[in-house]
């Protein structure tokens, strides 16, 4: 077990080990939702809350239910069930309290079940043997990191919309190249903190 303090893990997850730009998790939704700023921000906030809370819940389930019962191989099944239930709950809460956001997010909200970031955060938590406080920092950091890169990308894509790229690069190609430059920029933080 490593002894990195939780707040360092939080900052590392935001910048140096950004879950999207260094682990490529959550790319599919990221490509789709960064077309406009509103859905990037809205989904980013939902992602931060859901990733943070489900990672904590999954930590409790893994260490206090699955390990004592020697059922570690059911990890995937339990994690995805927790995430699905939680996303369903989040969907109902958003629909009840902020109908405008609910309709602007549309299909993305239920599809959060298959967002790699949420599942990936839980799996990395197990692989890296985080303690409880470290898990709290990691979960919210991973979700926040996703939001950060999504909002940045939405802004860059808005700018790129006015430019005139070569025809072959229009669409996904250009976004990938921009993402490559963003990943390089984020790698510049790498000397500050490192988590595995």
């Amino acid at each position: 077990m490593n002894h990195t303090p939780a707040y360092l893990i939080f900052f590392a997850a935001l910048f140096t080990n950004n879950i999207l730009l260094s682990n490529f998790l959550g790319m599919c939704h990221w490509l789709a939702c960064t077309r406009n700023m509103l859905s990037a921000t809205g989904l980013g906030m939902a992602m931060t809350i859901v990733t943070g809370l489900t990672t904590i819940l999954n930590y409790l389930i893994y260490y206090y239910v699955l390990i004592p019962l020697h059922l570690e191989y059911l990890m995937f099944l339990m994690f995805i069930a927790v995430i699905a239930a939680f996303v369903q709950l989040a969907e109902m809460v958003v629909e009840r309290f902020n109908a405008k956001l609910y309709y602007s997010l549309g299909i993305f909200l239920p599809l959060m079940v298959v967002n790699c970031t949420i599942m990936g955060a839980a799996l990395f938590m197990v692989v890296r043997h985080y303690s409880f406080m470290q898990t709290v920092g990691w979960g919210f950091g991973a979700g926040g990191g996703w939001m950060l890169s999504a909002v940045l990308m939405a802004a860059l894509r808005k700018k790129a919309g006015y430019s005139n790229p070569p025809k072959a690069f229009a669409g996904a190609g250009l976004v990938m190249i921009i993402a490559g430059f963003m990943a390089m920029a984020f790698m510049g933080f790498a000397g500050m903190v490192a988590i595995e």
Binding site: F24, M27, V113, M119, A168, F169, G180
Partner: protein, 210 residues
């Protein structure tokens, strides 16, 4: 495959669609996460590709067989759970027989569950089509996906380390390995350039693609 009655003669087209014309990564732009994450070496790309064909083909088959029994409202979570079962089997098999590969892939085996391509095929195809045809679709898409993983894996390993499958191809006197290709930015650049090249040559420019 062309003559199997259960496919209504659509077998060949469905298969070709999955591998080439409607390739999961280039045309559907699904399942990018694993495509970038496991392709820093050809070996892991191949293991992932083969494992993915296994999971996708069996899940499309089972979902298609269950398509009349699954209640409409909870169909997404049911499909995810079906996929999950096969991923657990794959994970246990890898751990038992290919420990080294399992360790290198790490959490990315589990992330097949949340690979959007899997859900895209079960939700978009299997839920409306007969089992055998769905199996063909699953194998086709899985192979198309594995093919792209292998290509990206080869390019990244060759230019990142000068090796292919651990054998030295480009000695340092000819080509200085560029570490960038193995790291995250190289993955983005590699895929971006590959998509652009395919847009130029194989795939017809669709104009409206956005």
């Amino acid at each position: 495959m062309t003559h199997c009655g259960a496919c209504d003669g659509k077998g060949k087209k469905t298969f070709k669609d999955g591998v080439l014309d409607n390739n999961p990564i280039f045309a559907q732009v699904l399942g990018i996460c694993s495509a970038l994450a496991v392709t820093s070496k050809l070996e892991t790309s191949l293991v992932m590709g083969i494992g993915y064909v296994f999971v996708l083909s069996l899940s499309t088959l089972v979902v298609s067989m269950l398509r009349h029994t699954i209640p409409h409202r909870i169909r997404i979570i049911t499909q995810v759970l079906v996929v999950c079962v096969f991923v657990i089997i794959l994970d246990q098999l890898l751990k038992a027989f290919y420990w080294e590969a399992s360790r290198q892939l790490g959490p990315y085996v589990g992330l097949i569950i949340t690979n959007t391509l899997t859900l895209g095929r079960t939700e978009g195809f299997s839920i409306q089509n007969k089992p055998i045809l769905s199996l063909v679709d699953g194998v086709g898409n899985g192979l198309g996906y594995a093919l792209v993983l292998a290509v990206i894996g080869t390019v990244r390993e060759l230019f990142g380390t000068g090796k292919i499958l651990g054998h030295l191809i480009l000695p340092a006197t000819i080509y200085t390995p560029n570490q960038m290709m193995v790291l995250a930015p190289g993955a983005f650049f590699g895929l971006g350039i590959l998509i652009a090249l395919l847009n130029l040559t194989v795939l017809k420019p669709q104009g409206k693609k956005k």
